[in-house]
Assembly symmetry: none
Homo-oligomer: 411 residues x 2
């Protein structure tokens, strides 16, 4: 019996006991009747993406959930570029960027330009296509304040530092990009990028959109902070390797980027923001639509991770209840012969405001799944579950085996 | 929220059901209210240092608990030398030694010279600094009947056998040291060491201290049994690699040696013997003192392991209750923002009188730790715990992640 699989990813859902929630985790505190129903009638466990105590980023976390390993990781730049819909050519170097705000002395006032969301495509257009010292610079907006940059030309290198200082005390300047290996190529690349950053600043600070923002009391998006330089490797596509069709429904560029590199088709919509205002009814509808022509559909909800980074336990509870609503909407379609699995790409404990190496709860539910004794989807309940404590690659392989796409070893 | 971590190591605590204890393990049988409290309000699991069914020595067990792997193991000799406070030079070969007792025909009467504890530094001095065929021999006493020996000079090799026969039937001679690879260097090294062993015997058997022991009916420490030849590699320091400060409170040279190689500072005291007469109040005080200037403090209690080797289940119960008192003393300081973890370096089942590959129970307790459903610290209870069954490296990585010293993979 061949089946289809839906994998719902609650980004950063794993947490730790929060004082504000009576020493419960946000997931324990949240009302999640649909997730609990799936746990009660399915199999549960806890998962370490790479291993216990090893934190992973959203990009690598999703790569693992799509069937890749640490050795396949191309760096954040190429993933973001893929997420923004750009195709890299051999020799290109890609960067992950933020629209940011600097003052006249180049001190970083806000790393996210007031979390700008509107008209970034117009700002991006104004600095896209510039050429410096024979290198062409492609620039494209991504989700919210994010963007991607590609350097295209001869003799480039990915061995350069970030311009993002990651500090926002108002008196720290952006960091001039430097070579990390002293090679001619990397010094040339750093030089071109430094020239571009100043040129972009010149153009952006005079841009109408920014003047308008300042009139409205908003921070101008007048600087580009770069990080995660990477050259695109020749990445194998898991969908081709295992011969199945897959799709990813998500709002965030990083997740969409990983999906495309893995050979997944993607579905997104302006109403799916990734945040608390995302439209989960639409998201569920897209999942079911994508299921028509695919064997495997992944859907990501970013909101729990955002709340973790913001140290907002109550907000995270809300995000998790929204995720439960997404599950409710998917279940309302009464899909037959479909496995539904729930996982996360990493834990983002509120108290840490960053990803941690704590395991995440997982569950698998549907025809053919062995039902264990656990009745609730939470970090603690699932730690006593029948799937045990498994690695990310083991979890995804379990799902691919339900698809009957795994290869028998031996004979 | 950055935290500090205390790791309390109950050396060899893991055991098997003992008939003498009504088929309970010594840990199940022992009264351990403080460990049980930590289990009840924390997370528990079982840990295989390397893997299920693979026994490890105290030295490697501790190396793993400090964040190293089997590939980092330098051999016992260099670890003991480090434990005795000696610094090895490149090309040195180090050995772990026992003061032993032989008869006139060199039959080994006692591998530990009646477990000699007094005046070994005077005996060691009498044979320290001897030169044979251009090789200098450094000799230093260690804990109780133990000592370390270093050969220093040109063209030495670690590929030689032990002189310790490990048999004490009174009619087995010490083993002449031999080359294991037939190389010129190893034959030279074996030759020098064999000459030294006889020379040392000449000096020791006439030594006043030994004559005095014999008058008192004690066995003389008249021979040096060597084992664990090893050359010191260029070992990376985990404290430098992860940029944290750590200290180790212990009585035993092996544990202190591993700690120093790992870049830990060490704290020890003559009143901390490692055995049942060790002063746990003082040990707890040292732990808390060390915590002032360190992020991570390890404390080891050797007694449970000793009782396991002696096939003394009741003695092991006593040793475990002493470990519980150590925990009680540490908890009495009401430390804030501190994680306390409990583990062991291996199991030492009484029935086996040696280390086994049985997993050991572990627990983690403190702010931010996810509390599971387990209420007691024992081999059996913890096997149902929320941490699951993890490897030694995974356990220590989990602790280093609480210190926020692990590196995020991906972005």
């Amino acid at each position: 019996m061949k089946r289809k699989v839906i994998l719902a990813i609650a980004d950063g859902i794993g947490d730790r006991p929060c004082k504000e929630l009576g020493d419960m985790t946000p997931l324990e505190y949240a009302k999640t009747p649909n997730l609990d129903k799936l746990a009660k009638t399915g199999a549960t466990g806890i998962m370490d993406l790479l291993g216990p105590g090893v934190p992973v980023g959203t990009d690598l976390g999703h790569m693992i959930l799509f069937g890749y390993g640490l050795e396949d990781y191309p760096g954040r730049g190429p993933i973001e570029a893929s997420g923004a819909g750009l195709t890299l050519e051999p020799g290109d170097v890609a960067f992950r960027c933020n629209f940011a705000t600097v003052d006249e002395e180049f001190n970083v006032v806000d790393r996210r330009a007031g979390r700008i969301r509107e008209n970034t495509h117009i700002l991006a257009d104004s600095i896209n296509g510039i050429e410096i010292d024979g290198i062409k610079i492609l620039f494209k907006e991504a989700t919210e304040h994010r963007a991607v940059l590609i350097l295209r030309g001869q003799d480039l290198s990915e061995n350069i530092t970030d311009s993002d200082p990651k500090i926002i005390d108002g008196k720290t300047k952006y960091k001039k990009v430097q070579s990390t290996d002293g090679s001619k190529e990397s010094m040339h690349t750093a030089n071109v990028l430094n020239k571009f950053l100043l040129k972009a600043n010149e153009i952006l600070k005079k841009h109408e959109i920014n003047k308008d923002r300042e009139v409205k009391g908003k921070l101008p998006a007048n600087f580009i902070l770069t990080r995660g330089a990477g050259m695109m490797p020749n990445m194998r596509k898991i969908t081709e390797e295992l011969r199945f069709k897959a799709s990813c429904v998500a709002a965030e560029g990083t997740v969409l980027g990983v999906a495309r590199l893995a050979g997944f088709s993607t579905a997104t919509d302006i109403k799916m923001t990734g945040n608390l205002d995302t439209n989960v009814k639409l998201k569920a509808k897209k999942v079911v639509e994508e299921l028509q022509n695919n064997d495997f559909v992944v859907v990501n909800l970013k909101a729990p991770d955002i709340m973790g980074h913001d140290d907002n336990p109550k907000g995270k509870v809300e995000a998790i209840e929204l995720f439960d609503k997404l599950i409710e909407n998917i279940l309302s379609y009464n899909l037959n012969d479909t496995i539904i699995a729930v996982a996360a790409d990493h834990s983002t404990p509120c108290e840490r405001r960053e990803h941690s190496g704590d395991p995440v709860p997982v569950l698998i539910n549907g025809p053919g799944v062995r039902r264990d004794r656990i009745e609730k989807y939470s970090e603690i309940d699932c730690s006593h579950g029948g799937l045990g404590r498994i690695k990310g690659c083991e979890f995804i392989w379990t799902l691919y085996d339900y698809l009957e796409r795994t290869k028998k070893r031996g004979n």
